[in-house]
């Protein structure tokens, strides 16, 4: 293999195939991908730093806008950390409502992904039909929270809006239709020959590699790694709800499709249990504006995988530090592995298969270069260094100084 046989082509940061700016540098030999470099950081928005300038309530709305698709995931994850520092016990009704919105969000995100995956392999019919059905869940979210995206449902110590019995009836009706449609999509995904042929064996990531690269969410579960924060470290109302963690052994994009469509069915079951067992009671508890000093880490199973937020408080009205690790950051290294020795034509669907959200990921980039020479030098040493350096380069004041001194002596 000679180096000159390899071709390096850049894909992005601005590229029609990418929905968000992200740089890929692909080393190709013919059609085969020999190496892949991913360059993050084109979409950095400085949200973590901006949170430090805002009080907790304002930061909540900012954090909610980290991602347009999993906005409830980020908002809940952040607010869980804040509530843990403040030592707040959430009312049970608020916990159930948070769980309900979380699952409705998962449904809309997975249906969206199914459409995008269909689009990336050229199956636009699937895109049109899944997105049409996704409108049902978007309408349900709008009904409960008021908006289709950025629901604004969380507040410190509870939720902002209640669910009326009419809403419950409406949600159950919508979920019934969605379940019917999802059964159909499971049939399509598992029986349609062209989907199976196109997705099988593409973007293979073995179980060992998942564990080594720490892939999260459906990407990991499709390789047989049974990891789900909802079950492993229950938050909100998940501890009181029965559900299965879906895994699959295909280890490829087809497996990720199967995991996602089957997870939809689990979401419907969780929503039904939530609505059936919805406890009565208040929606919020009073939390003081000043959060006591402390720090907390919060985990949340977003539709794309495990989301981690770290919040540190210094006892004031504003957080001292907020750190967000979006699920895509955990999964993006796996893409490199998945594309090894595959064809360039597989690139769009393999990247799309982790359901990437590059804007979410880009906030967490920090490049800490080790200082090459960190000697501490005094001002006097630096002055002498400057004089010596310029003397060596031909600018010398010694003669001039001597002339002036002689003149002064004469006077």
């Amino acid at each position: 293999m000679h180096n000159s046989d390899r071709f390096k082509i850049p894909l992005g940061p601005q590229h029609p195939a990418l929905k968000e700016p992200e740089g890929f540098s692909i080393a190709l030999m013919g059609e085969k991908i020999m190496g892949l470099d991913i360059r993050l950081g084109y979409n950095h928005r400085g949200i973590e730093k901006a949170c430090e300038e805002r009080n907790y309530l304002q930061a909540l709305y900012l954090v909610e806008r980290v991602c347009g698709i999993c906005s409830h995931a980020h908002a809940t994850c952040f607010i869980q950390a804040v509530e843990e520092i403040a030592g707040v016990q959430l009312p049970r009704r608020a916990q159930y409502i948070r769980t309900l919105i979380a699952e409705l969000e998962r449904i809309h995100s997975h249906l969206l992904w199914l459409g995008v995956a269909g689009h990336e392999i050229g199956f636009d019919t699937l895109l049109m039909y899944t997105w049409r059905d996704r409108e049902i869940v978007m309408d349900l979210l709008a009904l409960v929270t008021g908006n289709r995206v950025n629901y604004g449902m969380n507040t410190i110590g509870g939720v902002r809006r209640d669910i009326s019995p009419e809403d419950i009836a409406e949600i159950l009706k919508g979920v019934d239709i969605l379940e019917e449609r999802t059964k159909y999509y499971i049939e399509v995904a598992t029986q349609e020959t062209s989907i199976i042929q196109r997705l099988s064996g593409v973007g293979v990531l073995t179980k060992e590699e998942v564990l080594r690269l720490d892939a999260v969410g459906p990407t990991g579960r499709a390789s047989g790694v049974s990891r789900d924060v909802r079950r492993d470290d229950p938050y909100a109302a998940y501890g009181e709800i029965k559900f299965n963690v879906i895994t699959d052994d295909h280890c490829d994009v087809y497996g990720r499709t199967v995991v996602r469509v089957k997870e939809l069915m689990e979401s419907y079951s969780i929503i039904r249990q939530c609505l059936k067992n919805l406890p009565e009671g208040p929606l919020t508890v009073k939390v003081p504006r000043k959060i006591p000093a402390g720090e907390a880490i919060s985990r949340y199973e977003a539709p794309r995988g495990e989301d981690v937020h770290y919040v540190k408080s210094n006892g004031g009205e504003k957080p001292e530090r907020v750190k967000i690790r979006a699920p895509t950051l955990a999964n993006i290294q796996a893409v490199k592995q998945m594309l090894k020795d595959r064809y360039l034509a597989d690139m769009p669907i393999v990247v799309a298969a982790i359901d990437p959200c590059f804007s979410c990921t880009d906030r967490v980039i920090s490049i800490a270069e080790p200082k090459k020479d960190n000697r501490v030098i005094s001002w006097e040493t630096l002055r002498n260094y400057g004089i010596d350096w310029y003397t060596a380069h031909g600018i010398d004041f010694t003669e001039l100084n001597n002339k002036f001194r002689k003149k002064l002596e004469r006077v």
Binding site: R54, Y61, A142, L143, Q191, E192, T193
Partner: protein, 126 residues
């Protein structure tokens, strides 16, 4: 395995009415909790400025214009429509309306002033 699993679905959809609406001829009702353009009741405001303190994007300003008289200035280009100010207000002087059609060609029109004395001036001076 079957080829053309979705064919049946596609053919059936041919005879259904479109899934989309003919906006702007046909307008949808906003959901009941919808957070649209803000409305201010000057007579209820006590000037505590909690709304200003909690606004994530500095979109709202409460000015004192007289004895127990306050006016509100909303910058709709900055507003996130989170309606936190509505929740923060202890006297329910703020209200989220269902007004969504806020696009403007003139940026000055996005600054909305609610006068303390509504009779003396119009609500949208621009």
């Amino acid at each position: 395995m079957r080829v053309g699993k979705m064919l049946h679905e596609v053919l059936r959809s041919l005879f259904q009415k479109p899934a989309t609406n003919l906006y702007p001829a046909e307008k949808l009702d906003m959901p009941k909790n919808f957070r649209g353009k803000l409305f201010f009741h000057p007579e209820k405001c006590i000037g505590c400025k909690l709304c200003m303190k909690d606004c994530p994007s500095d979109a709202i300003t409460i000015n004192k214009v007289g004895e127990k008289q306050f006016e509100a200035v909303f910058d709709l280009s900055k507003c996130l429509y989170c309606a936190q100010c509505v929740d923060s207000c202890p006297k329910k002087a703020l209200e989220a309306t269902k007004d969504v059609e806020l696009a403007q060609l003139d940026i000055k029109k996005l600054k909305v002033v609610f006068r303390a004395n509504p009779e003396s001036s119009d609500k949208n001076p621009a």
